[in-house]
Symmetry: C2
Subunit: 337 residues, 2 copies
Amino acid sequence: MNAGVDDRRSTILRAIIEAYIDAAEPVGSAYLASLPGMRVSPATIRNVMSALEGEGYLHQPHTSAGRVPTEKGYRRYVDELMTSADPGPDRAGQVQGFFAKAHQEIEELLSSTTHLLTRMTDLAAVVTGPSAHRARIVSVQLVALSSRTVVVVVVDANGSVEKRTIVWPGEVDSGQLADIGNALTAHFREREVRDVDSPPRFEDPELDKLGAYAFVAVREAVRDAERDGVFIEGASRIAASFGAVETVRDVISILERHYLVVTLMRSLLSRGQGVAIGSEHGVSSLRECAVVVAPYSVDGVEVGTIGLIGPTRMNYASAIGVANLVSENLSRRLSEG
Amino acid sequence: MNAGVDDRRSTILRAIIEAYIDAAEPVGSAYLASLPGMRVSPATIRNVMSALEGEGYLHQPHTSAGRVPTEKGYRRYVDELMTSADPGPDRAGQVQGFFAKAHQEIEELLSSTTHLLTRMTDLAAVVTGPSAHRARIVSVQLVALSSRTVVVVVVDANGSVEKRTIVWPGEVDSGQLADIGNALTAHFREREVRDVDSPPRFEDPELDKLGAYAFVAVREAVRDAERDGVFIEGASRIAASFGAVETVRDVISILERHYLVVTLMRSLLSRGQGVAIGSEHGVSSLRECAVVVAPYSVDGVEVGTIGLIGPTRMNYASAIGVANLVSENLSRRLSEG
DNA sequence: CCTTGGCACTCGGTAGACTTGATTGCTAAT
DNA sequence: ATTAGCAATCAAGTCTACCGAGTGCCAAGG
């Protein structure tokens, strides 16, 4: 079925990569020959390894060492050699159980989903909230904080609430605020935010001006929401994967810059890639890392992403399996009702 | 003025600690004797160091090494020996400039304050949001998400917005929701949340039941808010401070558990401590860390905390100075208007 | 032509011996 | 009480030797 899976070169490459993922140490021909499925002698294996190295799939740290996979090797493994990423019924059950008991609040749901991911894979996990631009706004309200400041509160159909505090251009009048809130609610209601690009119109020119002002605040609130709804957890889990403290610091430093991580994941998805290995994603501080992404959907529309970040020698099969599994369950959970 | 500052033992202890904070290497008698203020010979200094070690202020890693401060040594330094924690006019200007340009949104303000702290000190920084229980609620609104679910949206006087999604006990009626929202707003308005412990009363028994139900949601929203308004940043900055990757992982793992950090800081403040060193705070994973805390106030009432976390050999004077400076500026910023 | 056993070769890592240098504690002189 | 001098200690660096894992290559065998 899968081209190349059964010829010897591929079998050996796969065995090397799996052994390396397992033990994090260079893999030698003698060990490979001792594996149950292997019917050839170490010498033959050495010939094959030498060829694989020539093609760039393996690397030898020094003459008297075994082989280590290169980025190209991992790539081939992920694309062709890896055995199905089925996470197994126990893990499936664990995830289903989690979503069955999950909390109402969407932020808590996403945050604990991140926790679930990092616990199941021992990798750093990322979950981005449903894109606020694609959400449907259910309510807009203006609340006076003082005689000069007003909070614009926006509730969307996912149940997430955004707000923006603004300096009111004039004296606050609670009747006006209510009118504008109602008009904005009616204006946005049942349309995706990104499709609404002009403010509602009012008869009264004074109201019209204020309404346009509040309209801008709504759009800004939605824009802010894109940035806030990002959950990252598990930096500590991958700390031990890297030898140099330097690398640990670089990686954690990136994980602290949420928007950068989100940008990275989005750009991978938009290129249709589910896995980026080492330098493929172009973030130099993460050159010793691999990233696994999966989108999730609400009512059939992809609105958010799930990601896992770990060392290039992560267990890809497990990571991809869990990411997909969680993505499916999360999509189902958010689409119901 | 400060008992013990001028006798020789104290001078030497202070010099050792400051040198160690600076260079992270054991300090020897020859180096100390070469310091400008020091008028005695290495031999004399050795006698003093030996005495200080006997009293538990210093520790010698091995026979032919210099001395390193113990927790007790740092404690004495912070309590008695440290020279004033005045951060200097340039830093004061930097902080003032920051708050002058700071953003409206309270969450963004606190988040960027955390960023400011970690940048200025190169330590991990924590800022907890103003206690929601002490805030005054300005508005409560009920928004229908579907025929069975309702979002209760709470706006407080700080401009922060909390929400809680609940399953509505009955068919949603938008008129009822508005009435209940208005009643709750009036009920909570201008009182601290923690002082309101009974729901508003309604004539209609149906409304009364629903009102009590929504009232519970408001309280839960406020409780959740305590947990959400925590900002931690700078884990990567202190990664390089620890030799063992193991330690790095432990520390970062604690920093990822926000509520634990908040509990720690609160318990320090409630005991009136501004600094906890090493094992003093009782969190074993942070035994190689010190924590500096400072409360901040809104309108004269302490409502939140600022914290800095770093290795025990952090620069205490700088950390305490910056924490206090930022605390003052943040208090002023949040109290105005 | 592919596979395999044999064998020389390479090189990282470990262990031991030795040296160096930093730093101390002690003692006796000031 | 202070200090100079001095022997003692010990981590860290250097050098050497050696071991062992693992390779590459060659020649023999299927």
